[in-house]
């Protein structure tokens, strides 16, 4: 388990008093068909971008709440880490971006029939968002709209 003890004292104190956003009520979309027939999308908050895409902007107060679309045929090793947080070790994901954006692993699972298909696009966020109102009111609905348009059945969400 990740532990708060991993973080510096200043951040631990911030987290201790942080008003986490409680999801209420908790929505629930039951699985409608076997996963071998489902279309899957990845949503990762590791702040990865493709070459040519704008990096996430750490000057935005409360956190950059934008997102990037990562096409299904993206070469995972070319995805770039633009998450500026110094609170965690970036070495693993820079060595192998599948650690936070596992397109290669999911392609392998698609090939052996564990999942039906990978969606044509996946979503990349930068998760250090301390003021989540804009994430809730703008980003999440926009992201969901894209995946609904694509007839996505299931989503795997990966924090960092």
């Amino acid at each position: 388990m990740g532990e708060l003890s991993e973080f510096p004292l200043r951040y631990k104190l911030f987290l201790k008093g942080y008003p986490w956003r409680r999801i209420e009520p908790v929505p629930w979309a039951p699985l409608k068909k076997p996963i071998k027939d489902c279309r899957l999308a990845v949503v990762s908050s590791a702040g990865l971008v493709q070459p040519g895409q704008a990096p996430f902007d750490d000057s935005i107060r409360g956190g950059d709440y934008s997102f990037r679309e990562i096409p299904a045929d993206a070469d995972v090793v070319t995805l770039m880490d633009t998450h500026r947080s110094e609170l965690y070790d970036h070495s693993g994901l820079r060595q192998d971006p599948n650690l936070v954006f596992p397109l290669d692993r999911l392609r392998e699972m698609e090939k052996r029939g564990r999942i039906g298909s990978l969606n044509r696009r996946h979503l990349s966020l930068m998760g250090s968002i301390t003021a989540p109102n804009r994430l809730v009111k703008k980003t999440a609905p926009a992201a969901a709209g894209k995946l609904v348009d694509d007839d996505v059945d299931i989503a795997l969400l990966v924090p960092v």
């Binding site: 699985l31 650690l99 596992p102 692993r105 989540p132 969901a144 299931i154 990966v158």
Partner: protein, 94 residues
């Protein structure tokens, strides 16, 4: 914060009919934010799928996440702990 961010997006996806499973690195945060389905993993921040360049370990975590989606006994909000024993078993099967 990352745990909260993906949880909040997962909630919106579920409202729109997409079934989700969110990996969570801090169980205590998952308990407070309450994403619909969470797989709580025992890894440090920066390593949500266990180890870099280790497809077997990464597959095992994803497989456990898919199992959460398939478990019809679960009720919202559901938090399932990733079990190292299962990880080994799933890893061997791949």
């Amino acid at each position: 914060m990352c745990n909260q961010a993906v949880g909040l997006v997962a909630a919106e996806l579920e409202r729109r009919g997409i079934s989700t499973v969110a990996i969570q690195l801090l169980r205590k945060v998952a308990e407070k934010v309450r994403p619909p389905r969470a797989l709580a993993v025992p890894f440090r921040h920066g390593f949500p799928l266990d180890k870099p360049d280790n497809p077997g370990r990464q597959h095992a975590v994803i497989e456990a996440a898919l199992n959460v989606l398939e478990d019809r006994r679960l009720q919202p909000p559901a938090i399932v702990d990733y079990e190292p024993e299962k990880k080994k078993g799933s890893g061997d099967a791949i």
